[in-house]
Amino acid sequence: MRRGAAWSSWLSPAVVLLLVVAFALTQGSFYRLQLGTLAGIYAIAVIGLTLLFGGAGQISLGHAGILGTSAFITANLTVSHGWTPLTAMVPAVAGATLMGLLLGWSALRTTGHYLALVTLAFGLMFSEFGRTVFSAGWYGVPPLTLGPLDLGDSQRMFVAVWAVVVASLVAVLLLVKSRFGRSLAALRDDPVAAAASGIDLARTKIAVFAIASALGGVSGWLFAMYQGSVTETSFSFMLSFNLLIMAVIGGLGSPLGAIVGSVFLVVVPEFGREYEDFRLLGYGVALLLVLGLLPGGIASVGRVLADLVLRRSGSATPAVSGK
């Protein structure tokens, strides 16, 4: 946001990319690569959600339905109709975006908790529908190939997914600093004043839902190939909440936080597999701790530490004032 915005918006994607490549090259373990890939796939969707929640102040408790729509379309076209994954991407992402447009249209009529319920009902309806109509699921989604490049290999898939993550990160970072990004922030901070400044609230809401859903669509599309199989159980209500939690504990409104949150939520529950009974309990407690102690999310750890060390006072954490 400051003058130095130009370099700093390139710094974090560059460093993420560097770490990702380093991780991919040094890891021989399928398991860790796969966790990393899964975290990346979720991160793409969560980056979209940060735009929605943090950027525009909208809410979606049914985002699993968006990812699921895309994954279902991908799986159906590739498994049952012989499409290649690459060509299936177009209808898959388009389908997800269409769902997003519908949700965005709902956001015109409802706000706050009502919008929360509409999106929640959408997510639940999707998984009920999936369970009833597509209960058998699809198996054998082929791996992604880009011309001669076969991404079936875990290492290459990992790199490909994270390339998409970094691209999404860059795009969203640029987006929030553009005219459209400012209109999102205006919508979030004060819809009345935003409209009085000439911002078309309806178009902006629909657009931000569409963008978030398109990213969700990309995420669902990648998921179908990563998993190789698609069933409704992967897109249950819990996924919606997990995505939301990733967005929040990483740092609401921060696209980099979206990545931190996704990696955190995918990797941390894998610790303590030996203490199976306490694992999920610990996850709940960790979530509450982050919420209570770090309102800026895990991505703000640096700032909080710096504040503690330098004993800076005053305007370090801008107060979020209601209304």
């Binding site: 706000t111 639940l124 309806m125 939690i245 919420l291 209570g292």
Partner: protein, 300 residues
């Protein structure tokens, strides 16, 4: 055409029996949402999970040798303290993130409750005897089969609602609650501590859903996976009833209960769920403030 016939040819007497029973439970949870929402603006998703474990709590207390009634009393007390506690350590600190904070924190509380339940009571739900009569004993009433426990459920929910209304009207804490719900700023100016009101709301709501949870346990087992299911339906009931109207959310509960029972009888259970959510979305889009909510006047 056949779908239409299916929809109409339903055993309405049975729909009434099932719908009223479950509707009362949805209404009680919705009332809990309402209490918390109106006084603090927070949404608490943990109420459903609290409902699901309440029967287990009573079973454990009975295992310590307490008779049923004292065990229920102690369970209600524990529920109230638990509610007040997690409002303080989980929901309130998350307020710093805006209203979405408590919502997510309440999901965190749900996870803790659900996993804690497995640690304490194991993964399987347990049978819970009805308050009177044999398990599953049913009588014919108004043309349908009613479980004896249904009358207990409806009676207990009505009774606790009445208690709550009396409490809100005639006690000083109740008056403070009502003042806060009408004007948080005004209440603060007249010396009421809104954060204390929020805490007691969560405690009250916890007691309320625990009553409902114990009452329903003989029908659906203690500690089943129904927390989310009930929680979402009650959420719908609260929204339908307009969230800010006490009578409205109870009627909303009843409407959702009857609708649920009717759809399940008319369609298959799977399609009835889809239809229920679809209807809900439709209603919200057509009438975003529910049927009993006040029109919110926004002034600049």
């Amino acid at each position: 055409m056949s779908i239409l016939v299916n929809l109409m040819s339903v055993d309405y007497a049975q729909v009434l029996a099932t719908g009223t029973t479950y509707g009362a439970i949805f209404g009680a949870i919705a009332l809990g949402y309402h209490l918390i929402y109106v006084s603090s603006g927070m949404l608490n998703f943990a109420l459903g999970e609290q409902l699901a474990i309440s029967g287990l709590g009573v079973i454990s207390l009975q295992a310590f040798g307490l008779p049923l009634i004292p065990a229920i009393m102690v369970a209600l007390l524990v529920a109230g303290l638990f509610g007040a506690g997690y409002e303080r350590i989980a929901l309130r600190p998350a307020m710093r993130m805006g209203l979405i904070g408590p919502l997510i924190a309440s999901v965190g509380v749900s996870i803790v409750i659900a996993q804690g339940r497995v640690l304490i009571w194991g993964p399987n739900p347990r049978p819970f005897p009805p308050f009177t009569g044999e398990p599953n004993q049913a009588v014919d009433f108004l043309g349908g089969r009613w479980q004896i426990q249904s009358f207990w459920i409806i009676g207990l929910v009505t009774l606790s609602t009445l208690c709550l209304l009396v409490f809100l009207r005639y006690t000083s804490l109740g008056r403070a609650w009502r003042a806060t719900s009408q004007s948080p700023v005004g209440a603060r100016l007249s010396g009421i501590n809104p954060s204390l009101i929020a805490m007691s709301s969560v405690a009250l709501a916890s007691v309320l859903v625990t009553v409902a949870g114990i009452a329903i346990a003989p029908l659906v087992l203690a500690g089943g996976f129904y927390g989310l299911n009930f929680g979402v339906r009650a959420f719908a009931a609260a929204i339908l009833g307009g969230f800010s109207s006490t009578g409205g959310v109870l009627v909303g509960g009843l409407v959702i209960g009857l609708l649920d029972a009717w759809l399940a009888a008319a369609l298959s259970v799977a399609w009835s769920e889809i239809a229920l959510y679809g209807l809900l979305i439709l209603v919200l889009l057509i009438r975003p403030t529910g049927f009993f909510g006040r029109e919110v006047v926004t002034r600049s």
